[in-house]
């Protein structure tokens, strides 16, 4: 019955045409698409910068770029990938999927989210424009530590305003998500019936609202220190540059969970689908996510063990960091248990989800090593750290996004993508990402420092391997937009609602492609109950 009325609504949705559809977009799917396209563009810009880094590090000595530009590349690569690629991709997926998954016709605040999207092109134009100003782009690292960040010339205020805009955009995006989830759910969609992608995004949104303003405050203090004579971080005036690090990482550690929690949600949707079993321990997953989010507020100083702090503080931050392994372990265990005795099949979304499971866990283990204070004294600022956070961000967050896109793409466009090519994309990505990042563990343990354009000759071999992996990974990502384009233009139509036979959840009760407005008549209690794990 519900299906019938939705199909009827599909016939006369009033889609605006031409540029107005996008500039004035308030439809949750159009907004989601814009976010995802923007994120993809930024992914390739940030990726191109990574290619510059790997090319320079292919062999020892200085060949392609001067040290200033090299450090600009590392700084900009991080800012663009974090704030331009991963976070907008999650917001895009949230806008596309949350109304469909909770039985709502639209997001709660469509005009606000239009504004929050359109801030982004301006923010990143401003950030990228720093490449062309006197003094060059920011080169003091994405962490913006003073006093180094203050010595960068004309790019400094541009960097700060760009960060302000990105922050405002993501806060508004998060508010939209919370209001939608709390107020727009269909009757019968209780909190504990919500899909885990919705749950993880709800928790992510609270993290965003809590910590993005702290970052905004920290960079505002940098700005006033530089231009208005305040001395928050200036030792000469009684301030302390180490305090910036504390404030920054108070934001920074929750930020890494902002980047990864939605991936936990997506993987928790995909693994049951392709195991043809309900998710093992649904409720435990919800509580584990919430505990990770809570713990993320009390571990920040593990980024700063070497700057000096009392022994008691070092112990506290070490132990609280290690505590996070418990809820994370619960999740990894539950995903594995979901597959146990399931009838597995290995379509592209499942392949990416499985690679996520293996490789994110490796990144988690190196994170535990970094949490150990005396060991961290050795690892600090080496390639071991670089390897660690790339393992949790590339095969973690990025693979999570790709898994999500491959999972829902047939629902979005109504066509199936080229399965063989998508598997090529997966295998190339999965192999090259390890060739790229695994050797960096060795380099770091051997003492190669990060953010330096040159290195001692004994590091040459593994750097060459890593660079080859980098070029391979970068090139294979070009398959991704090609695949999506082919799917939209000439994919085989998916005639059924469930593109994947084992899929659970409300989005699979809608026709494919999904109608312009999702649930104009709320789904019935029976349909909701059928899709829920709990």
């Amino acid at each position: 019955m519900a299906e019938h009325s939705v199909a009827a609504a599909h016939d006369h949705d009033h889609k605006p045409h031409g540029w107005r559809r996008w500039v004035y977009a308030t439809n949750h799917k159009d907004i989601g698409t814009m976010y995802l396209v923007f994120a993809c563009l930024m992914f390739f810009i940030g990726g191109a910068m990574a290619m510059v880094i790997r090319a320079e590090l292919f062999k020892p000595g200085m060949q392609l770029v001067d040290p200033q530009l090299f450090n600009s590349m590392t700084t900009m690569h991080a800012l663009i990938m974090i704030f331009g690629a991963v976070m907008p991709a999650w917001t895009g997926l949230a806008n596309w999927m949350i109304p469909m998954q909770v039985g709502a016709p639209e997001m709660a605040l469509p005009r606000l989210i239009n504004f929050s999207f359109w801030i982004l092109p301006f923010a990143f134009t401003l950030l990228l424009a720093t490449l062309f100003v006197p003094g060059g782009a920011p080169a003091g690292g994405w962490t913006m530590y003073p006093p180094l960040v203050l010595q960068n010339g004309a790019s400094f205020p541009m960097l700060i305003f760009a960060v302000h805009m990105m922050g405002a955009s993501s806060i508004l995006g998060a508010i939209n998500v919370v209001v939608t989830i709390l107020n727009m759910r269909a009757p019968g969609m209780t909190l504990l019936r919500m899909p885990l992608f919705v749950w993880t995004w709800l928790i992510t949104a609270y993290l965003l609202i809590a910590v993005m303003p702290v970052l905004a405050g920290a960079v505002t203090m940098l700005l006033t220190d530089h231009f208005f004579g305040t001395t928050f971080f200036t030792a000469a005036g009684g301030g302390d540059p180490v305090m910036f690090q504390h404030i920054f990482w108070f934001f920074g550690h929750p930020e890494v969970y902002i980047l990864i929690l939605p991936a936990f949600g997506i993987v928790s949707e995909i693994i049951p689908t392709f195991s043809r079993k309900p998710l093992f321990g649904y409720e435990a997953m919800v509580y584990a996510t919430a505990s990770i989010a809570f713990l993320s507020f009390i571990v920040w100083a593990h980024h700063m063990f070497v700057v000096g702090m009392p022994l008691a503080a070092q112990l506290f931050f070490m132990l609280s960091t290690m505590l996070i392994a418990i809820p994370t372990g619960v999740k990894v265990f539950n995903w594995t248990a979901t597959m146990w005795k399931g009838s597995l099949s290995f379509e592209p979304p499942m392949l990416f989800a499985l690679a996520f499971l293996f490789l994110f866990t490796i990144g988690g283990f190196s994170g535990l090593m970094l949490a150990i204070v005396p060991a961290d004294y050795q690892y600090q600022d080496t390639y071991f750290v670089v390897a660690h956070f790339h393992y949790v961000l590339v095969p973690g967050a990025i693979f999570g996004i790709m898994a999500g896109v491959y999972y829902w793409l047939p629902k979005w466009v109504g066509n199936m993508y080229h399965m063989g090519l998508a598997k090529w994309h997966f295998w190339l990505s999965a192999i090259f990402v390890n060739v790229l990042f695994f050797p960096q563990h060795f380099l770091g343990l051997a003492g190669m420092p990060r953010r330096i354009p040159d290195y001692a000759v004994q590091f040459t071999d593994w750097n060459m391997v890593s660079s080859i992996g980098g070029f391979g990974f970068g090139l294979s990502q070009l398959l991704f937009p090609i695949l999506i384009y082919m799917c939209v233009k000439s994919g085989k139509p998916v005639k059924v609602n469930k593109a994947w036979e084992g899929a659970h959840g409300l989005e699979w009760e809608l026709p494919s492609p999904a109608p312009y407005h999702s649930w104009q008549t709320p789904p019935s209690d029976a349909i909701i109950a059928k899709g829920a794990f709990h």
Partner: protein
């Protein structure tokens, strides 16, 4: 305005309020940080910048080596450093040392020296009766002079301490001073 619209608006305003609160919390971390540093004694600037009255009560049986270091915050422009690199002292006795500075910036300058002490625990036992770091130092173009620091180490200092490093960083404080 429907019931749902009103509920959405109220929740949006509440969440914006939380965001605003966290923005304020970022700034509240500044005084909080100083309080925590004070309680734990880390980088206790106030102890290092406090002028004290010395009561001499020398302990001739203990000798501690004091090392002096001078750094300049931004390269060039200043010559700055201790006149004598180390001195052996007895706790409880008043000593004085001198730092040398030479303004090569080509302008009249005001500089502020910021002290730092290692190991950081001894800050509470290292007292200065007089220090050039207590106030901004004015230098004419090319002026050079020696600046005194007088200090006394509390005999209650833990037994295992036999070496203390007193480091000063010399900052250009012209902009800060003009604002005060």
């Amino acid at each position: 305005m429907t019931v749902l619209d009103r509920a959405n608006r109220n929740l949006t305003l509440k969440l914006l309020g939380i965001a605003l609160g966290s923005f304020g919390f970022g700034f509240a971390l500044v005084p909080l940080y100083n309080v925590i540093c004070g309680v734990t004694g880390v980088g206790d600037q106030s102890a290092l910048l406090r002028r004290v009255k010395a009561i001499e009560n020398p302990d001739p049986n203990r000798t501690i080596t004091i090392e002096f270091l001078g750094n300049v915050a931004s390269a060039g422009g200043w010559e700055f450093g201790p006149v004598a690199r180390t001195v052996e002292i007895h706790p409880g006795k008043l000593y004085s040392a001198e730092f040398f500075a030479h303004n090569l910036t080509g302008r009249d300058m005001t500089a502020q020296a910021v002290p730092n002490i290692a190991p950081s625990k001894v800050a509470a036992y290292f007292h200065k009766t007089e220090c050039f770091c207590f106030s901004p130092q004015h230098f004419k173009v090319n002026e050079q002079r020696n600046m005194p620091v007088r200090f006394i180490v509390d005999p209650a200092i833990p037994k295992y301490i036999d070496r203390i490093t007193l480091a000063y960083t010399f900052y250009d404080a012209s902009s800060q001073v003009s604002k005060r």
